[in-house]
């Protein structure tokens, strides 16, 4: 975002904070598509994503006075969205598989780079998204936070409620799970195999 665009955005935020419905409408129009897409990636169904988007903007409007203008607005918005979605998912008890104990089982072997390249080359976005949809909630959320919302490891740790040092492990584990899904049932176990 250019400095001029940033200035416009900041002005909109200030006006919306002061209660301008018009400015709020413009902010909504600017950020709603990205937040909807975020929710669509993080939540299991489209309906969930729609509901979550609506709820997130209700929250954002209520909390707008708490926004610290020195931070990028989109980062703050993604933090609110991430907390909301993760809170919903957590309430759905999708965390059975997410105990930190499993992190210990994380394979640290060197996968075969050639095999990995072959696995991911010529993959379409749709194939990847389909595989992402099959991931357990925390793994999917971790990937969305990092590679969609581009959140820092600190923010991811805070959102997911894990220690910062585990964020890398969670991300790597999510990648392994994704590869397993991409491989399909009959494929070779690339994720855990390979040279050491």
């Amino acid at each position: 975002m250019s400095p001029a665009e940033q200035a416009v955005a900041q002005e909109r935020i200030a006006l919306a904070k002061a209660g301008s419905a018009e400015a709020w409408g413009e902010l909504y129009g600017q950020y709603a598509p990205a937040i909807f897409r975020f929710c669509r990636r993080a939540m299991p169904t489209r309906e969930d994503a729609e509901d979550a988007t609506m709820d997130i903007f209700i929250k954002v409007r209520q909390k707008l006075s708490q926004y610290d203008a020195t931070r990028p607005f989109s980062a703050w918005l993604y933090t609110v969205a991430a907390n909301h979605c993760w809170d919903l998912l957590r309430r759905r008890k999708l965390r059975q598989d997410l105990e930190t104990g499993e992190v210990e089982n994380m394979p640290l072997e060197h996968p075969d780079p050639g095999q990995l390249e072959r696995l991911i080359e010529r993959r379409t976005g749709q194939e990847m998204r389909r595989a992402l949809d099959k991931l357990p909630a925390r793994s999917r959320m971790a990937l969305v936070l990092r590679y969609y919302a581009e959140m820092s490891y600190d923010d991811i740790a805070a959102t997911l409620g894990v220690r910062r040092t585990f964020v890398g492990v969670v991300l790597l584990r999510a990648r392994h799970q994704l590869r397993e899904i991409l491989e399909g049932q009959g494929g070779a176990r690339l994720a855990a195999g390979g040279a050491t």
Binding site: G29, G125, P136
Partner: protein
């Protein structure tokens, strides 16, 4: 050669590896093709992931398209409200309004409509013939609710199978049996010698039954006279009622004045300004009387229970007598064969010659005492009510923390929960009437639904109170005691505000609407959360 593991490679790519290790890895990959290739592969994977996640492959749904649309109630609520409004209108025009018209033409105002529905419903088992339209409406409503519930709980083919099975079951149910005979007119007379082999429903300014009715008689009229024979019950909403014939069943009357001088085999229930049981009358059972004044000179074989302003007893009472009211005179001809109790401000007058099984037990109710006691009672009840609500609130918080948080969050959006609460109130009232009507045709589910409304109404104050506490004391930290403290403060404010005359009523109304809305929305959120499909675990 020792390679760097995949974790280190990923952290290196993400800029999260510590500087020392980072330098080592940089140096290592210059010489190690394997680690270099792995880095490339991981980077490729990152790019693929990012592009798959950020790709704009789906358009925004219409309901999210504009912020303005978002603030409107969702189509579900709009549709539900529309359906209920249409249902209520239809229910009123087809079910209630014709009765109102008949009542008006029979000389009644409509003020006691509800009690009439309730009482006549409770006393008469033949409603089913009269309220087909309501039944159908109720069934449609029940089916809609059931389908909504099933859709939420079950999915796909299972839901379809359940609905189909339910429909088959409904079709297999037997049809309701025969209809009552209905007569309308300015002056209705069943002459002596005429026999009606059915229940009889009559509406009109004047009704006279000299003949025989082999069934129940339901009358909405200004003046009802029965000199003939009724083999079932007589249920009357009438200006004046006179029973001079024989009734094999019960007599239930809601009337200005009633004169009973015939033979009634079973019991009498009377809501009346005045009731006169003349000396030749004989009631085979007991009597329940709510009346301004009562002259009871005839015989009743069993108990008398009365809330009566002025009572003159000169007849025979075979069982117990319990009367609460202003005054009681037991005349010389009276014969009370069971124990008698009178609750009132004045001593009962017992004339000499009156036969009593035992002296009349007197419970004096003095106004002063009552006032003092009632003030103390109001205070006691207020404290008890406050404590009770707080205990319920704490239990909710401890046992169902997720639901508590969800509901509290819903309460925070104020407008929506109040709207939903108001809708629930309308729906609740609608279902209450429907439930009462359905009770007689044998479906208790409607009533059960209404019963569920009561606890929701009760816990409404907990959430509004906690919200209020949060408003005053600030958002609590994630500590139960802090939430409880806010709940206690908020509930106290509501309870105290609720004691203010008139304004208190409005406060409670607002709390009920707001809180029930929040609770229902909380349920909605929780049910969505629980019924959502679980993401499959990787093998």
């Amino acid at each position: 050669m020792i390679h760097f593991d995949e974790m280190a490679c990923l952290l290196y790519l993400e800029g999260q590896l510590d500087p020392q290790r980072s330098r080592e890895l940089s140096a290592h990959i210059k010489e190690c093709a394997l680690c270099r290739d792995l880095l490339h592969a991981l980077q490729h994977e990152t790019i693929l992931l990012s592009s798959a996640l950020t790709e704009d492959n789906e358009s925004m749904p219409a309901r999210l398209a504009s912020e303005r649309a978002r603030s409107l109630p969702s189509w579900v609520w709009t549709l539900a409200f529309g359906a209920f409004a249409a249902g209520a209108y239809w229910f009123w025009t087809d079910g209630i309004a014709p009765w109102f018209n008949q009542l008006s033409s029979a000389g009644f105002g409509g003020t006691d409509m509800f009690s009439m529905i309730v009482f006549s419903g409770a006393f008469w088992e033949g409603w089913s013939d009269m309220i087909d339209a309501i039944q159908i409406g109720a069934l449609i409503l029940a089916v809609i609710v059931a389908i909504g519930w099933i859709r939420r709980r079950l999915r796909g083919p299972v839901a379809i199978a359940v609905i189909m099975a339910a429909l088959l079951f409904a079709l297999a149910l037997p049809q309701q049996a025969g209809a009552a005979e209905v007569r309308r007119g300015r002056s209705i007379q069943i002459p002596a010698g005429e026999v009606i082999h059915n229940d009889l429903v009559v509406t009109g300014p004047s009704v006279r039954i000299d003949g025989t009715v082999e069934g129940d008689v339901i009358a909405f009229t200004r003046s009802l006279t029965v000199t003939g024979h009724v083999t079932g019950d007589v249920i009357a909403f009438a200006g004046e009622t006179m029973i001079d014939g024989t009734v094999d069943g019960n007599v239930r009357v809601f009337t200005r004045s009633v004169i009973l001088q015939g033979a009634i085999e079973k019991n009498v229930t009377a809501f009346a300004n005045s009731i006169d049981l003349v000396s030749k009358a004989n009631v085979g059972g007991g009597m329940i009387v709510f009346a301004g004044e009562a002259d009871l000179d005839g015989k009743m074989q069993r108990d008398l229970l009365g809330l009566i302003g002025r009572t003159d007893l000169e007849g025979v009472i075979g069982g117990q007598t319990w009367i609460r009211g202003g005054s009681l005179t037991v005349a010389s001809g009276a014969d009370l064969r069971g124990p008698a109790t009178f609750e009132g401000a004045q001593q009962p007058v017992v004339e000499s010659g009156a036969k009593l099984a035992s002296p009349i037990r007197m419970e004096l109710t003095q106004e002063m005492q009552r006032t003092r006691r009632s003030t103390a009672r109001v205070l006691f009840r207020a404290i008890l009510g406050y404590g009770g609500a707080l205990v319920v609130g704490v239990l909710l918080l401890v046992i169902f923390p997720g639901f508590f948080r969800a509901t509290l969050r819903e309460a925070g959006s104020i407008g929506l929960p109040i709207g939903v609460g108001a809708l629930a109130l309308i729906t609740g009232a609608f279902l209450l009437v429907l439930g009462v009507l359905l009770l007689i045709v044998g479906i208790g589910a409607g009533v059960a639904g209404v019963m569920a409304y009561a606890p929701i109404l009760y816990v409404a104050q907990v959430f509004v109170g906690t919200w209020l506490g949060n408003l005053i004391m600030g958002q609590p930290p994630e500590v139960t005691s802090a939430v409880v403290a806010r709940m206690a403060v908020g509930l106290l404010i509501i309870r105290v505000a609720g004691l203010i005359p008139f304004l208190g009523g409005l406060v409670w109304l607002a709390v009920f609407l707001w809180g029930t809305g929040a609770v229902l929305l909380g349920f909605h959120r929780m049910s969505r959360a629980e019924s959502a499909p679980t993401a499959p675990l990787p093998a």
